[in-house]
């Protein structure tokens, strides 16, 4: 199960109350998390697979606000439509879902948490990016509508993260560290997945690597989130987790309409209802319906 690391000051500012290590260490087990270690203002804990929202500080803070009684009831988000996307992606990775988050304030720790969330989701729900992979971009560098396409490995080029030179998609698989690490996911494919904006600027080569140009920095105020997947339900769950986590650091969520052929899709944050038999709860069953 994923081991996550959060900064006490970061969780505190997200909760809106000053927390101490003792409180956090006492609350974590009540969220099924096991405290692994406390060091220099950081707490490490193991979260369970059924609570991906606890894989980073944002979701943890949301849960703590409820547990500590600061904010009870269902969390609501401010939502509006923000853009459009076209899905013309490869059949071996057929799903792409997107959303945006606006009015963010990010610092090093916040960016570290977003990366941690991505990494833990990749490792668990994403099955090491095979089933689901996530990309987060600086929205100010992008113009809607975006397009998810299958592209020729040699004629398409862009500057991948942490590099200064342009590379073809094939070169990325051969030379970029992430390309080498994940090249098996595209082995034997004639055309590779590519995410472009309306002006043809490359956002990323899912599920391998993003472009350097759209990198999220401390100056980023609005982000675009994409999830490509082989499993649509998993993609929906993962996008909801990442979007709502980022929304804890921002003002509102933007819905991106994804058009693939006749189909149209929008992120749904509608709560689901489950019936609970109170009598059984009282007997000690805590049975789910």
């Amino acid at each position: 199960m994923p081991v996550c690391r959060v900064a006490l000051y970061d969780v505190s500012r997200l909760v809106g109350e000053e927390l101490d290590v003792e409180t956090l260490s006492e609350m974590l087990p009540r969220l099924k998390c096991e405290v692994e270690g406390v060091e220099g203002g950081y707490v490490e804990y193991e979260a369970t697979h059924d609570r991906p929202d606890l894989f980073s500080a944002e979701g943890l803070a949301r849960a703590l606000r409820g547990l500590l009684g600061f904010e009870l009831g269902l969390r609501t988000f401010c939502v509006e439509h923000s853009g459009k996307a076209f899905n013309e992606g490869p059949s071996y990775r057929p799903y792409i879902l997107l959303a945006t988050v606006h009015g963010l304030s990010l610092d090093d720790e916040a960016i570290a948490q977003v990366m941690q969330l991505q990494e833990k989701l990749h490792a668990t729900y994403g099955r090491d990016r095979r089933r689901v992979s996530i990309g987060v971009y600086d929205l100010s560098k992008i113009t809607f509508p975006v397009r998810y396409v299958e592209a020729d490995p040699d004629s398409n080029r862009f500057v991948p993260l942490d590099f200064e030179e342009e590379m073809s998609l094939r070169e990325i698989l051969e030379r970029h560290p992430k390309g080498v690490q994940y090249s098996h996911l595209l082995a034997g494919k004639e055309r590779y997945p590519l995410l472009l904006d309306s002006r043809g600027k490359v956002l990323s080569m899912p599920p391998i690597v993003n472009s350097e140009e759209t990198r999220v920095t401390e100056r980023t105020r609005d982000v675009l989130i994409d999830v490509t997947a082989t499993d649509r339900k998993a993609a929906e769950d993962v996008l909801a987790v990442v979007t709502t986590a980022l929304a804890e650091r921002g003002e509102k969520i933007g819905l991106v309409e994804v058009l693939s052929g006749e189909d149209s899709w929008l992120l749904s944050l509608e709560p689901r209802s489950v019936e609970l038999n109170v009598e059984l709860v009282e007997q000690g069953h805590y049975c789910t319906g």
Partner: protein, 554 residues
């Protein structure tokens, strides 16, 4: 102790009786000197009695053998036609009488290797090759065995190479373009002389002699002899021993260590000399057979669970993925089902299962079936469920039991091995024990499960239990029980929870609830047995196992 030369056994009856009763009288330490020295009267020397030493016949012969000088025990044994082991007691008694000294020495003994032995009865490879060359002058390498055969010599390929090598080393042959040629008669003769000396050396060492000292290094290098470490036991007469023999003060008699009815009835006791036992000396420790402490521990746990109303359930080690994963609502692309977490069978790869069960399990995975769950929402593949694995969890046995028995009121446990590809170290092993159980009842709830954890911990002497919420794929809600370890703090040892409807309904459990629990039994065993390395639980080292006190008393 006899006060006269006439044997009078009765005063010794109390100690003798004990000796008689013991079936292992021979293991009692013999007090030696006191028991064997029979003070008596030598004819004509009434005023100054000289002690006469009574020994057994075999002991007398040992003394006599040593008269000419120190003897090694194996030589004595050979002379007497006995085994060395059988002489040890006699020699020890003689030593205690002060007649001999015994010296133990670490020695290195030369011994022929298998190859060395083979040359006792056949020629060395270089001799065979040389024989061919003496006849033909030169010969093609690949024809060597054939030519040797025509001389009536068997020369295998490896032997030919070896023979040429030895000859080439002393310059007796040259090899060029696949042809081996003798360098001349003299070098060949020299090589043959050395070969002959080698064989003589081997024969000499085989007889227990030293062989030719200059050749020893050669023999070792060619791996024809090895040295073996051993102990030599050298027996020599003491001055007193020599005197006693010379003065005729050593007499022989039959010594009786065990009194039998026959000895009494026949009157033989009148003439016999009895050995006295020294009861102050502790006997050697005898280790009775006992169960391996880990198995003993596991059996104790079994008894405990049976006393709590559980029946033991068993299941196969080779298991269908269906029982090990699918029936437990673990999605087919769950990471635990991949090759690095599970051993898969290479042959056969698949088994069979009831159609109806497969259909129900599949429906639950895809859409929740009739459970009200939404399922995992993917396309379930029955052929994956039929693949064979080494079971990774005993929960597979619980699933089988629930399918076989369905609704009802019962409790079962499994205590058995499971297998996972781990790297073996102090904390991990690729096979280990799991203990788990199910409590099936219409009325059972999570509270009962938590109560059961407390009760079990108390019975196992583990102290208080702390419970925290947890997650497992097949139970909801799930809990983890912690016990407090003196050094390690809170240790997670009791996972458990209520089986999900997605597990129960397809297995045919419709009206009952099932509390499922597990125990990190290896961890508890390590704590209870006081070991800090999981591999020690499976130790076969007798010294180590004897040191273990019985685990868990309650």
């Amino acid at each position: 102790m006899y006060k006269s030369s006439k044997p009078q056994p009765w005063p010794l009856s109390s100690s003798l009786a004990k000796g008689c009763c013991s079936s292992s009288a021979a293991v009692w330490m013999i007090k030696g000197l006191k028991s064997l020295v029979v003070s008596g009267l030598v004819a004509g020397v009434q005023d100054a009695p000289i002690p006469i030493l009574t020994v057994e016949e075999i002991q007398r012969r040992i003394l006599e053998l040593c008269m000419e000088g120190p003897r090694e025990i194996s030589e004595i044994a050979r002379q007497l036609g006995k085994r060395k082991e059988d002489l040890m007691r006699s020699i020890e008694e003689l030593r205690l009488l002060g007649l001999i000294t015994v010296e133990r020495r670490q020695v290195e003994k030369l011994e022929l290797t298998e190859e060395g032995v083979s040359y006792l009865s056949s020629m060395l490879p270089e001799e065979k090759v040389a024989a061919v060359l003496e006849k033909m002058g030169s010969v093609r390498l690949d024809e060597l065995p054939l030519r040797a055969a025509s001389l009536g010599l068997e020369l295998r390929e490896g032997e030919a190479r070896l023979g040429i090598m030895h000859l080439a080393r002393v310059g007796a042959v040259v090899v060029r373009d696949g042809v081996v040629t003798a360098s001349g008669e003299d070098p060949l003769k020299r090589a043959l002389n050395e070969a002959k000396a080698i064989r003589e050396s081997l024969a000499s060492i085989a007889r227990g002699e030293e062989g030719i000292p200059e050749l020893l290094e050669t023999l070792k290098r060619r791996k024809l002899v090895t040295t073996r470490k051993g102990v030599e036991i050298l027996v020599s007469l003491t001055e007193e021993g020599k005197r006693a023999l010379a003065e005729g003060r050593v007499s022989t008699a039959k010594l009786i260590t065990t009194l039998t009815p026959q000895i009494i009835l026949s009157g033989e006791w009148r003439r016999a000399v009895f050995k006295e036992y020294d009861l102050s000396v502790s006997p050697p420790r005898v280790y009775p057979g006992r169960k391996h402490p880990y198995l003993e521990f596991l059996d104790t746990v079994r008894e405990l669970l049976v006393s709590m109303g559980f029946e033991e359930m068993k299941g196969p080690h080779v298991e269908l993925e269906l029982w090990n994963f699918d029936a437990l609502f673990q999605a087919q692309d769950h990471p635990a089902r991949e090759i690095h977490d599970t051993f898969f069978l290479r042959n056969p790869t698949a088994g069979r299962a009831p159609e109806e069960l497969l259909r129900r399990v599949g429906a639950v995975h895809e859409s929740g079936g009739d459970t009200g769950s939404r399922g995992w929402g993917y396309r379930w593949d029955p052929s994956k469920a039929l693949r064979l694995v080494l079971r990774t969890q005993t929960t597979a046995v619980s699933a089988r039991t629930l399918y076989a028995r369905g609704d009802g009121e019962y409790r079962c446990f499994a205590l058995d091995r499971v297998f996972r590809p781990e790297n073996l170290d102090a904390k991990h092993s690729m096979e280990f024990y799991q203990l788990e159980g199910i409590i099936v009842s219409r009325r059972v709830t999570l509270r009962h499960l938590i109560g059961f954890f407390h009760e079990l911990a108390r019975a196992l002497g583990l102290g208080p239990v702390k419970i925290k919420p947890a997650y497992f794929p097949f139970t909801e809600p799930s809990v983890e029980g912690y016990i407090k370890h003196e050094k390690l703090g809170w240790m997670e040892v009791f996972p458990g929870g209520m089986f999900r409807p997605e597990v129960l309904r397809p297995l045919g459990v419709k009206e009952s609830n099932v509390a499922a629990w597990g125990i990190g039994i290896d961890r508890i065993a390590m704590a209870a047995l006081g070991v800090d390395d999981i591999r020690l639980l499976f130790s076969q080292d007798l010294e180590f196992l004897r040191g273990w006190s019985p685990p868990l008393r309650w």
